[in-house]
């Protein structure tokens, strides 16, 4: 076990006229090496959940345990946890403040007490992990970059802290399709090549279906489903729709094909799988097995 949320509730503006309950007794276990996608409607408490995971918010009730130790025990523990769990907020490039990319990325590791040769190594590794060239970028201003590059540098600034777990809040929000697919391959690399645990929030079902190995569905401050993508998108269509979430476009297409009587599986999550399934269908027709 790695992270464990135990009966965690969180209320904003506690004891104020605008008190709002964001999370209600959440129980969640996150293990090392997982790729978790968090989905849910706007305002269902996803961002609050992410902030609880690395100790930015202290739960109003319940406990956040990392390796069985309460992270709010003392400040020392909290800093340790933040070293291990990196969090990139939505639009992380809004936090840029340095003159050069190298300095920007150095901010995190420097705060963690890293200096000299190792600091440079960390910066280099961070930039390379997001698929950019260290020497071409290190002396440029972070504000001179394109939107997609900015996003990747912002994520690199988190990666330079060398966290074991990476939490991403809507990493692809308002990126053009090309930057989006580049960023997604970076995230896939983090999971497969660099063996990081990834927790990602997204509104894009296609992305979640393709990347995540486990999906947590949230509604009104609670977790309503927690399963593999196949199980969630295949068996819980009605429930997803009642929450106001949709299926990934390919899965939806297969559903429609099935509805009009074509013998296809609806447990399809990626374009690749859909292609195979449809090809199978065409071949069957060529062999006159069906009409």
């Amino acid at each position: 076990m790695f992270i464990h949320l135990k009966d965690v509730s969180y209320t904003y503006n506690l004891n104020m006229p605008f008190e709002t309950v964001a999370l209600k007794s959440i129980n969640l276990k996150i293990n090392k090496g997982e790729f978790i996608g968090v989905i849910g409607h706007t305002g269902c408490g996803k961002t609050t959940l992410l902030q609880l995971l690395n100790g930015l918010l202290e739960p109003t009730e319940g406990k956040v345990l990392v390796d069985n130790i309460d992270i709010h025990q003392n400040k020392q523990k909290l800093r340790e946890v933040r070293k291990k769990i990196g969090l990139a907020f939505q639009y992380p490039e809004n936090q840029f403040f340095e003159e050069t990319i190298a300095k920007e990325i150095a901010f995190g590791p420097k705060n963690m007490g890293i200096a000299g040769e190792e600091l440079e190594q960390r910066i280099k590794k961070g930039i390379e992990m997001v698929g950019l060239d260290y020497y071409a970028y290190k002396d440029r201003s972070p504000f001179s970059l394109s939107g997609g590059e900015m996003r990747r540098i912002a994520i690199a600034s988190i990666l330079a802290i060398d966290p074991e777990i990476l939490i991403l809040d809507e990493p692809t929000a308002s990126l053009d399709p090309q930057s989006c697919s580049k960023l997604l391959s970076v995230i896939t690399d983090l999971y497969l090549k660099y063996q990081r645990t990834v927790i990602m929030v997204s509104h894009n079902m296609e992305i979640i279906a393709e990347l995540a190995k486990r999906i947590v569905v949230m509604e009104k401050g609670g977790i309503v489903m927690d399963d593999t993508p196949k199980n969630i998108f295949q068996h819980s269509l009605r429930k997803l729709e009642s929450i106001g979430l949709s299926l990934p476009p390919v899965t939806h297409t297969m559903y429609e094909l099935k509805k009009i009587g074509k013998p296809v599986s609806s447990a399809i999550l990626t374009v690749e799988e859909a292609k195979d399934e449809i090809l199978k269908l065409i071949r069957k027709r060529e062999r006159n097995e069906i009409y």
């Binding site: 930015l56 990196g86 809004n94 403040f97 901010f107």
Partner: protein, 266 residues
């Protein structure tokens, strides 16, 4: 992070009450006269009357008094400091000695008097902002200042700037909190270190905040131009301000209270 959330000065709380429905011009002018009166009052009984008046107001506005008092919290240090300074520096009959410092009877009286004055001042301004929405507040200011147009002072533009500034306070606060959190997630520490170190620590918050604010200002200006905003000339209002009977009654009662509290002790 916590200091932001405790800041209730200038916050508006919506309630359906007589006080909320009063004309903003009336409320603004009356709180200004209230503030002037609080400076003029020379007697305890005068303060007592104003105190009762203010608390009745807050009660009528249906705003939780606990919430009103919470707004005083950030200024409590200033009140206590004034209280203590007056204790020690006012000459008069010594009633207690600490080392070389003398506490005088006159000092206690004067200090308490000033502290109550400060307390009432805060109360009368937060009463205004708690019960008047920022939009009607600036509408009121615009109307009050409109006579300045004779002297070529752009009352509308001033009011528009105020509206925008007020409108962006919560947005900027939210953003500050977000940036603080993001930098904490990157290991920033805002709580330890000496004075200079602490100021340096604020750069990673202030620079992104300014950059984002400039972006926002630029976008807002373009959006306003796209909707043909050209300043105050010939511009009409969606909500027209009207002074009705409730307002007149309120003005008369307030004026009576102010005159009586001023006359007390003369």
């Amino acid at each position: 992070m916590k200091f932001i959330r405790n800041l209730t000065i200038g916050q508006y709380i919506y309630q359906d009450s007589i006080i909320h429905k009063l004309d903003p011009r009336v409320k603004i002018l009356l709180s200004i006269s209230l503030i002037i009166t609080i400076f003029l009052v020379k007697s305890w009984s005068g303060f007592f009357i104003i105190g009762i008046y203010l608390f009745t107001n807050i009660f009528l506005a249906k705003v939780n008094p606990k919430f009103v008092l919470r707004g005083i919290k950030p200024l409590l240090m200033i009140i206590i400091l004034t209280l203590l300074i007056h204790f020690f520096i006012t000459p008069g009959e010594v009633i207690y000695r600490i080392w070389i410092l003398n506490i005088t009877l006159e000092g206690i009286q004067r200090g308490t008097f000033i502290a109550i004055r400060l307390f009432l001042l805060i109360l009368s301004t937060s009463w205004l902002t708690l019960t008047t929405s920022p939009i009607s507040l600036t509408d009121g200011i615009e109307k009050i200042l409109s006579f300045l147009k004779i002297f070529k002072i752009p009352a509308h533009e001033i009011a528009m700037m105020m509206t925008i500034a007020l409108r962006f306070i919560p947005t900027l606060m939210e953003e500050t909190e977000k940036i603080i959190k993001a930098q904490i997630a990157r290991g920033a520490d805002f709580e330890s270190g000496n004075f200079i170190k602490r100021i340096q620590n604020f750069l990673p918050i202030i620079i992104p905040l300014f950059i984002n604010a400039f972006h926002r200002a630029d976008e807002l200006a373009i959006a306003m131009e796209a909707r043909c905003y050209r300043g105050g000339e010939g511009r009409t209002h969606y909500r027209t301000l009207l002074i009705n009977n409730t307002d007149y009654v309120f003005i008369i009662i307030t004026m009576l209270v102010l005159v009586v509290s001023c006359v007390q002790g003369i």
